[in-house]
C-alpha cells in the first residue's frame, strides 16, 4: 500500500496541464472546439492508462518468477552484488 507521491504528482500534473490548462490556450478559430476535445480526451485516456498500470503494480500479489541465470545477470547488470 504505497505510492510514490512524486511519480503520481508528476504524471497527474503533466496530463492535467495537457487536459485542463492547454484547452484554455487554444487559439480562437474554427477548429478551437475540436482541438479542445482532442486535448481533453488525449489527457484523459493517457492519464487513465498510466494510472491503471501504476495502480496494478502498487500492491503486487505475486512477484516475478525468474530463472537463476537471469537473476545472476540482473544482479550483475542492475548493480546488486550477489551475496555468498
Amino acid at each position: 500500500m504505497s505510492a510514490s507521491p512524486v511519480a503520481v504528482l508528476v504524471f497527474t500534473i503533466l496530463w492535467g496541464v495537457v487536459g485542463i490548462v492547454l484547452p484554455f490556450l487554444v487559439p480562437k478559430g474554427p477548429n478551437r472546439g475540436i482541438l479542445q476535445a482532442i486535448l481533453i480526451l488525449t489527457a484523459a485516456t493517457c492519464w487513465l492508462f498510466w494510472l491503471c498500470c501504476y495502480m496494478a503494480q502498487m500492491n503486487p500479489l505475486i512477484g516475478p518468477k525468474l530463472e537463476n541465470t537471469t537473476l545472476l545477470l540482473i544482479a550483475r547488470e542492475w548493480g546488486k552484488e550477489v551475496t555468498s
Binding site: T45, A56, N59, P60, P64, V82
Partner: protein, 843 residues
Amino acid sequence: MGSLFRSEEMTLCQLFLQSEAAYACVSELGELGLVQFRDLNPDVNAFQRKFVNEVRRCDEMERKLRYLEKEIKKDGIPMLDTGENPEAPQPREMIDLEATFEKLENELREVNQNAEALKRNFLELTELKHILRKTQVFFEEAEHGGVVSQMADPSREEEQVTLLGEEGLRAGGQALKLGFVAGVILRERIPAFERMLWRACRGNVFLRQAEIESPLEDPSSSDQVYKSVFIIFFQGDQLKTRVKKICEGFRATLYPCPEAPADRRQMAMGVTTRIEDLNTVLGQTQDHRHRVLVAAAKNIKNWFVKVRKIKAIYHTLNLFNLDVTQKCLIAECWVPVLDIETIQLALRRGTERSGSSVPPILNRMQTFEDPPTYNRTNKFTKGFQALIDAYGVASYREMNPAPYTIITFPFLFAVMFGDSGHGLLMFLFAGWMVLKEKPLAAQKSDNEIWNIFFAGRYIVFLMGLFSIYTGLIYNDVFSKSLNIFGSYWSSNYNISTLQHSSVLQLNPNSTDFNQTPYPFGMDPVWQLAENKIIFFNSYKMKISIIIGIIHMLFGVSVGLWNYLYFKKIENIFALFIPQVIFLVFLFLYMVILMFIKWVKYGPASDIKYSSYCAPSVLITFINMILFKDTPQVKGCDEWMYAGQGVLQKLLVIIALLCVPWMLIVKPVMIMRSNKRQHYQLNNHGTENGDVEGAPGAAAANPPAPQGGHGEEEEEMSEVWIHQGIHTIEYVLGSVSHTASYLRLWALSLAHAQLSEVLWDMVLRRGLAQEGYVGGIILWAAFAVWAVLTVGILVLMEGLSAFLHTLRLHWVEFQSKFYTGLGYSFTPFSFEIILDTAQATTED
C-alpha cells in the same frame, strides 16, 4: 463556427434567377460548392427537359475530346496538366469550342484514314516484295532440272515426289505445265492451311513456304504480326479454283507473280521504288498527325475542364423550374445557414458577369423535410468522419461521434497494438505521408490500397503515436523492455540458493520489492519473468473492462446532449437516467471493485489483505448479481469493505428496477400526452358542434376521433414493441458489450506474444552466433525478422486491431446514442464533378 460536433444547420431556399443570368450564377455556385439543388421536375423525362440540347452538345464535345485523348495517348505524347482551373466559359464560347473540336476531330480522322490507306498499301507492297524475293528461290530450284525430275530429290517429302511423279507418268512423260499461286498468310495458320490443302486436293498440290523474318504492321489494328510467304503449285483449273477458295478461307492474300524471271525482277524493282515513295508520304502524314496532336495535347486538360463545367451547369439548370412568364428560373436548394451570405455574394458576382440588371432572389423556405447532413471537415478530420459515415450518415443535427473518435479510435487501437517499436514504424510511415502530402496527392495514384492508406494518413499517424505511448506503458519495444528508471525489483538470493534452484520467485513482501511501483509503465523485470503472462493477463483484462465501461458511459452521456438539443426532456427521465443507473450500479461498480482490490490487497502482513485472501472481482460480481455468498477460505473476509453485502444487494435491486423503468415510462408518457390531446380535440369538436348547432356537423364529427383512435392503438402497440426491443437491447447489450471490450486484452496479448515469439525464434538465433559467419547469419536473421515484423506484426496485426477498434466504435460506442439515419449533403461543386470525372476516365 464550423464545428464538427453536430452537422451544419441547413435551410431550404428558393432561388429566383433571371434567365440570362442563370448560367453565370450557377457557374459561380459551382465554383463555391455549397449548394445542393433539388430536382423540381422529377416526373419530367430526361429527354424532355429544357436544356437537353446543350447537354447533348456537351456530351458530343466530350466524346470528341476523349477521342483526341485516346489518340494522344496512343502516340505517347505527354499531356500538359498545369492544374489550372479555368472558369466555365460563356455559353457563346461553346460554339467556338465546338468548332475547334470539330475541326480537330475531322482533321485527325482524315489523317488517320489516309494513314491507314497508305499503310495498307505499304503492307501490300511489302508483302509483294517478300513474295518476289522468296519465290525467286523456289523458281530457281525448279529451273535447275525441270519441275518434275527435280521433285525426285530424295531429301524432299516423299509423298509429293511420288504423286507428282505418277501424274507425270500418266501424262505421258511430257514436261508438265504447272500453274501456281503465290501469297502471304499469317504464320500461325500455316499448319492448318497445309493440312486443309492436302486433304481438299488429295495431295495433288505442292506447297512451299518461307517465313518473313521481320514482323509486319496490321493497318487496321496496328498490331505487329508475323506472316509467311507461300507458293502453291498445281495442275489444272479445277484444282486452281479449289486452291483459291482455300486461300480465301484462310484469309491469305494472293499476289500476282510473273512466271518469267525477267518480269519478276522488273516488278521487284518497281515495287521497291514505290515503297520508297510511300515511305516518304507516310512519314509526312505521321508528322502532320504528330503536330496536330502535340498542339491539342497542350490544351486538352483545359478543354476537358471547360466542357465538363458547361455540362454540369446545364445539367443543373435542367433541375430548375421555369417561371410562367419564362423570364425567370426557379430553383430549390439546401444551403448551410452560415454560408447564405457567401452564396449571395457569389450570386451577385454571377449577375454582374452576365450583365443582367435584376438581382437574383434567395428566399428561405419552411419545410418539414429532413435536411441533409453536412459536416464541414478539413484534411485532418476528413478521415475520421469517413469512418463514421461508413457506418451511417448522422441524422440531421445529431451528435457526431467523429470528434471523439479522433482520440478514442487511435487510443483503443493502441491498447491492442501496444508496442513502441511497431508504433514507431507506423508513425514514421504516416509522418512521411503527412509531410509529403502535397506532392503525393498531386500524383493521383490509382492504386486502391495506396489510396486507402493515404486517405487515412492522419488516422495512421495518431495510431502510431498512441501505440508508442501504450508501448511505453506496457514497456514493450519489439517485445523487449526499456529500463529507464531502473527496475524496482531486485534479487536478494545468495549464491547457494541460486545454484540450487533453477527458478526463483521474488517476494513482494520483502526487500526484493522497492514497495513503490515503477513510475512509468510496467516494471522491466516482468518482461523477463516466467509468470509474466499471469501478471499481464490480470492487468490487461482489468484495464480492458475499465476502459470499456468508461467508453460506454461516455457514449450514453453523449446521448444526453442529443435529448437536450432536440428538446426531448422526457427521454432524459425515461431513458437516460435509468440507463446511466443501470450501467453505473452494476458495471462501474465492478470497476470500482477493481480499484479497491488494487489498493487494499497486496503484500500485507495481515492475512486478510494478502494475496492469499484477495477475492476475484469477477466471482464477486457474478455472486452479487446472483445474490449468492462466496464460500470463504478460513481466515479470510468475504467482503472487501464493511457493508459491502448490503450495498451490493441494494445496487442490484435498483439496477434491476431500472429495467421496467426503461420499458414502461416512455410509452406511458406518450399515452398520457396522446390522451390529453385527444381530450382537447374532443372538447373542441363538441364545442364547435354546439355553436354551429347544425346536425350535419355533429354527424360528421364523431367518426373522425374513432378513426384516430384505431390509428393510435396501432401506434401505441408499435411504441411498446419498439421500447421493448430498445430495453432488451440495452440490458443485454450492457453485458455483451462489456464482454466485448475484452478483445482489447485478447488482441494485446496476442500481439505481445507474437512479437516475442518472432524475436526468440528468429532474431535471437541470429544474435547467438559468433564469428564472422555469425555476422552473415545475423544479417539473414535480421532480414527475416524485419520482413516478418513489418508484414505480419505491423500490417496484418495492425489491420486486425484496426477492424476490432472499428467494431468497438460502431457497435459498442455508437449504439448508445447514434441513430445514423441521415443522408449526406451533396453540393453542386465543380471540384467534386471534375474529380469523379477524372477518376472514371482513368479507370
